[in-house]
Subunit: 203 residues, 2 copies
DNA sequence: GTCTATATTGGGATAGAC
DNA sequence: GTCTATCCCAATATAGAC
């Protein structure tokens, strides 16, 4: 059994602290904009420790940061979808909580996976792969929810592509505009799109 | 009257060459991942020329690159929407051409504005502002098309938010997945969403 | 406007003591 | 596993001749 990660940085192990700090910094500054020295400093670890846990250097660290972002958003997605039987209503609530998170960070913390992966196309294949896996997992979670709400499987997988893409795009648009409007509109329109398939949709 | 920009890099003026090279490189590598020396080298200009035209340094250059990406996508958007009276059908065609462009670049060239602005939140306000203006202009172009197709103005502006957000997100998802599927699904679903408002929608 | 040279800082990465 | 010191290189930016 794997060690459970403590939720505060203080009591977490060194490796945990490094990954979480890397993820948080890359979420704000991007992969190229974040230095290993900055990560080690803010994580309270020495440079030697960083290279001890991540001998593959910055790319390996970036990949681990993307995987952590993947897990975190998967968790948020599952919570939102489990809290409400109707997938359309659940997505409206999800966009609201994404907007709230953005505003609370003064529009600095967008999607950690997107921020980290943008700009690494062709130069950091490990990060690309981890980001592709993240998007695929999120799509699968959404599709499963739709299937559970009696959508046809083909429709569910098809819709899941657009749900994830629209969430990504709307979070980016909200961040750039420093406004909740894009996410709010995305939530309403995704709900409407979903309703146009299965009626009310909840089982 | 402003000087018309020649379309090939060879005969363009130095300033033009620098901006276009910057835009293209930042589209692939992001703002932080692109160096001024690389830009000057690939543009066939000296470092002195770069700082002559852009005394504000990298930030001013990045802002100009975002504005160029804004103009280019505005043009593509207008062309796509003008070629087809039904906005829903026009968006399907647009997603297809975006997917084609991505595939032709081996999935390297995503949205130049998005790639450049991500990671600059809080550290490069000029770039942030230029990106916000770009998104707003694109929304206005889409909204105008919808109004011309007899949509209510409130619905048109509301839908335009989601159209732009979904296009952005789907282009990103297609790039990461190295697949046309996300853009293709986005086109179909945006068409369906639009059709759910105004019927066939064309005047 | 263009060019070369350079100042300065910080980047990723490594070595080896403890 | 942790720490310090260091290597090497690229980054942004500037100065000043032409």
């Amino acid at each position: 059994m794997k060690t459970k990660a403590p939720h505060d940085l203080e009591t977490a192990g060194t490796r945990e602290r490094i990954v979480r700090t890397a993820s948080r910094l890359m979420q704000r500054q991007g992969y190229e904009g974040t230095g290993i020295k900055q990560i080690s400093r803010e994580a309270g670890a020495t440079l030697g420790s960083v290279y001890h846990f991540f001998p593959g250097g910055k790319q390996e660290l970036g990949t681990a940061a993307v995987r952590l972002g993947d897990e975190e958003f998967t968790e948020l997605l599952r919570e939102s979808l489990d809290a409400e039987p109707d997938p359309a209503k659940a997505l409206v609530a999800l966009t609201a909580s994404l907007a709230e998170g953005l505003r609370e960070s003064d529009w600095l913390d967008g999607c950690p996976v997107t921020s980290t992966v943008v700009g690494t196309a062709g130069s950091a294949p490990g990060i690309q792969r981890a980001a592709a896996e993240a998007f695929a997992r999120w799509r699968a979670v959404v599709a499963a929810k739709l299937v559970a709400a009696r959508f046809a499987e083909a429709d569910a997988e098809d819709l899941a592509h657009t749900v994830i893409a629209t969430l990504e795009g709307a979070e980016l648009a909200s961040q750039v505009a420093r406004s909740e409007t894009p996410l709010e509109a995305a939530g309403r329109h995704l709900a409407r799109l979903i309703a146009s398939y299965g009626g009310s949709g909840h089982s």
